[in-house]
């Protein structure tokens, strides 16, 4: 790996005739490669009565192709010690994989085959449906998952992000095999596919392999072009709880809509969020809940990033007897966060951490590939990593206070918890 920061002189970025894009960065000391990327199909277009359709379709892709049975497909992947996964989020589908450098063409050929020629057999349809329904049943017993789902329902309201992309037991049961075939036909194509790669192959050679595989995917019919519906933020506070029996711990999510990822506010709030609930032993809220009061092992804040609407949350797991006390303490920390500027020491610490972490986040092939994906997803320049330090340095305490006041409206907090009945 180059010890210098990846930039426009060292990242290879190539666009292909089918409107796919490759970003490649070498780590020639590694005998392996890691790749990740995204493509268009997302769960936000799922019909209400068939939520989970996009995710179900993705799950089916890895169950066999016209030429390869399930067994043969996975035998090809596993016998060379490789991995290949595909998943679906609200806005897009993602894929990632890993293999020894010598096997990259094999794996990208397989990825192309599963994306273009899935077999969608009746046997696999029934099996995968069973797996999804059981996953939903398992999630329904998970306090952290249920608190999160309840939170999303309350915050997103009528927006498609209110529902988990996996769907519900009822909606998944309504999906038929023909629905999956149709969804695949209407939504899968190379248009907008992005592949990021890092590992022990020269980028030019990776470009050639990509051009013979995914870069050569010929688009079929015109894909459907749905627009993500507008998000209307909640106008009042919500407090809700999901009761689950036999749980030793309750989980709580407190949050608000987050700033747009491609905004100055997001950069400012990233620094603020680290002070609030990330730095060291989970920032101010870690100090309040864990260090001073011993109420929680897990507590942290999260600022969501994405091209659609996202959330800014605080999440904690506490003993059910301490749930309300924990919520009160977290409210108190939020009150301080919006009423007093962060201290100069806090700001300097967090900026120093953000600047120091840049090289460490690039320690592995996966770290580099993830950074390349972000550059393409958010249309950053290839010199983004060089530009970041100046952005980080420019954030002031006043800006954080101003943003905190605009986003953390304590009269409109969404608070969702799950665990023992309250």
């Amino acid at each position: 790996m180059n010890s210098a920061m990846p930039d426009s002189s060292s990242i290879l970025r190539a666009e292909f005739n089918n409107n796919s894009t490759l970003l490649a960065y070498p780590n020639l000391t590694s005998p392996a490669v890691y790749f990740s990327g995204f493509m268009r199909p997302g769960a936000f277009t799922d019909p209400v009565e068939k939520r989970g359709l996009a995710s179900f379709t993705t799950d089916m892709l890895m169950t066999g192709t016209k030429n390869l049975t399930f067994q043969k497909l996975h035998d090809k992947i596993e016998s060379i010690g490789a991995s290949l996964s595909i998943g679906t989020g609200h806005l897009s589908s993602t894929f990632f994989g890993q293999c020894l450098s010598e096997d990259l063409e094999t794996i990208w050929n397989l990825l192309l085959e599963v994306l273009t020629q899935p077999s969608f057999t009746e046997k696999q349809f029934k099996r995968v449906r069973n797996q999804i329904l059981t996953s939903i049943a398992v999630q329904n017993q998970d306090t952290a998952e249920m608190a999160s789902q309840e939170f999303n329902r309350a915050l997103y309201g009528a927006h498609p992000y209110a529902n988990p992309s996996i769907g519900s037991a009822q909606s998944v049961a309504a999906i038929q095999l023909e629905d999956l075939r149709a969804f695949h036909k209407d939504n899968y194509g190379p248009d907008g596919l992005v592949m990021a790669f890092c590992g022990g192959i020269d980028p030019e050679k990776a470009r050639q392999i990509f051009s013979r595989t995914l870069g050569n995917w010929q688009p079929g019919q015109k894909l459907s072009q749905a627009e993500l519906p507008a998000f209307v933020p909640p106008t009042q506070a919500v407090r809700s709880h999901v009761a689950l029996e036999d749980k030793a711990q309750s989980d709580v999510v407190i949050g608000v809509p987050a700033p747009k990822t491609l905004s100055r506010d997001f950069q400012v709030c990233s620094i603020g969020n680290t002070i609030l609930g990330r730095y060291g032993m989970m920032g101010r809220i870690g100090k309040a809940l864990r260090e001073k009061n011993g109420l929680a092992y897990e507590v942290a804040s999260y600022l969501g990033a994405g091209l659609g609407p996202t959330t800014w949350t605080i999440e904690a797991g506490v003993n059910p007897d301490n749930l309300e006390k924990a919520i009160d303490l977290l409210r108190e920390e939020l009150r301080k966060f919006i009423n007093e500027p962060v201290t100069q020491n806090e700001l300097e610490d967090v900026k120093a951490q953000a600047l120091g972490r840049l090289p460490l986040s690039l320690e592995s092939n996966a770290g580099i590939a993830s950074m390349l994906v972000s550059i393409e997803r958010y249309h950053y320049s290839l010199d983004h990593l060089k530009e970041l330090p100046a952005i980080i340095e420019s954030v002031s305490a006043d800006e954080i206070l101003d943003a905190a006041q605009r986003y953390w409206d304590l009269d409109k907090l969404i608070i969702a918890s799950a665990g023992r009945a309250v």
């Binding site: 010690g81 293999c99 099996r127 049943a137 749980k247 030793a248 711990q249 090289p359 460490l360």
Partner: protein
């Protein structure tokens, strides 16, 4: 075949017994410092479970020189990351940092080897934090089932105890219990300091001599448990609770990592339930969809997931297979299929192709693990915790030397129906008649 070169490795022992392992890697301006103590739940006594893990928590609370906040800042302020882990066999602390901050991590580790405060108020705060950590795990039926199976898999050996400790013990532990445990086992002669990354070995060796060389070492007398080679015949744990999904766990005895059988066992595991990665960070994984159990259980619709777990331990441990079963599924039928696949493994030698495939998978997992410096630091100490570094560097050649007949005899020796524990969690709200 050896894809893990150890030419760069420098090993050294200070007069006080502290062992030092250094590996220069100059691919990124990063260093990873790991200190390993030979103390874990394996050395704990009944009624005092969880001490090693709780001491690990207290090591972040401060010394006379560093407050807890100072420790946070030392790592976080430069963008580093740090953590600690307690296992049955060891306790370890690491810091991965920009390389120009290596010395500060050595200063911290030298100081907290002897000077941690164990403030009584902070002991009390941490008691509820650890109880909360445990309660978070108890929320999951899989955790409760696994804890019960583990207890049945050992009669007296402390591997039967959860590393977090029992709730009763956590409530009864005193500040003195913790401090004595700390002083007794956090000795230079019971530690290995490992540094990997972008540094000069000569400089670090001098720094370590300066910072650690003056720490006196007291003799460490660790309780060495008696190994347990066999299990109770036909042991069964049955639980029930809310939810719709059922769980089945089967545990068989596995050899110590230093036992020659361990390598044939790794092949056996790869074939039966898929390859386990022993790497800790950013290591990636390989799927198990072509493993025999996945094929027979998931592909045939009898269960929705299955995976295995084989860990490298000092003493004989357990190899476990975990299965999640759909609401209308039947754990007893799933167990029958597990038995069939185990019987198949014990009935014939593997083909050369099956063997070569398992070896290639292991080679890939090692390659993935070696693409970051933190894992290099991890492996130096980890391999030493149950064997020595040669175990790691020779892992692939030793795996390659395993023959089909060795896999067969290992399967017959360990995967016995009368030498296993079966755990079943039945969901009360299930739609089926499990």
């Amino acid at each position: 075949m050896s894809t893990i070169p150890n030419q760069n490795l420098i090993q050294y022992q200070l007069q006080n017994g502290l062992r030092l392992m250094l590996k220069e890697i100059h691919t990124a301006p990063v260093t990873s410092t790991w200190i390993w103590y030979g103390i874990g739940s394996r050395n704990e006594q009944p009624g005092k479970t969880g001490l090693s893990h709780w001491v690990e928590h207290m090591q972040f609370k401060g010394t006379r020189k560093y407050s807890g906040e100072d420790i946070d800042n030392l790592v976080s302020r430069v963008g580093g990351y740090a953590n600690a882990f307690t296992s049955p066999d060891w306790t370890t602390y690491f810091e991965t940092m920009p390389s120009d901050h290596l010395r500060s991590t050595l200063e911290l580790e030298a100081d907290r080897m002897v000077n941690s405060r164990f403030d009584p108020d902070e002991v009390e705060t941490e008691r509820t934090v650890i109880l909360s950590e445990r309660e978070g795990s108890e929320n999951y039926p899989e955790f409760r089932l696994d804890e019960a199976v583990q207890q049945r898999a050992f009669q007296a050996h402390p591997y039967r105890n959860e590393v977090l400790g029992s709730k009763d013990d956590l409530r009864a532990t005193t500040r003195d219990d913790l401090y004595q445990h700390y002083r007794r086992y956090y000795q230079p002669s019971n530690a290995i300091l490992c540094v990997a990354g972008d540094f000069s070995a000569d400089q670090v060796r001098d720094d370590v001599e300066e910072l650690f060389g003056g720490i006196p070492s007291m003799p460490v007398t660790t309780t060495i448990p008696i190994q347990e080679d066999s299990l109770n015949p036909g042991d069964l744990v049955e639980m029930e609770g809310p939810g719709e999904a059922h769980y089945l766990e089967v545990a068989w005895r596995c050899p110590a990592a230093s036992d020659p059988d361990f390598f044939a066992y790794s092949i056996l595991e790869s074939v039966l339930s898929g390859p386990s990665s022993l790497n800790m960070f950013g290591s990636g994984s390989i799927g198990n969809r072509t493993s025999w159990l996945y094929q027979a259980l998931v592909e045939e619709g009898q269960a929705v997931s299955v995976f295995g777990d084989l860990s490298a331990n000092i003493d004989p441990g357990v190899y476990k297979v975990f299965t999640t079963i759909q609401p209308d599924g039947d754990p007893a039928a799933v167990l029958g299929i597990v038995d069939e696949q185990v019987a198949r493994l014990k009935s014939r030698e593997l083909s050369v192709t099956e063997l070569e495939r398992a070896i290639k998978q292991a080679r890939a997992l090692f390659a993935y693990g070696c693409d970051n410096i933190t894992n290099h630091g991890f492996w130096m100490g980890y391999a030493n915790s149950f064997s020595d570094y040669e175990w790691f560097t020779n892992y692939l050649p030793r795996l390659s030397a395993v023959t089909p007949s060795q896999v067969l005899s290992t399967a017959r020796k360990y995967l016995r129906e009368d030498q296993r524990v079966v755990g079943i969690y039945r969901a009360r709200n299930s739609r089926g008649a499990a």
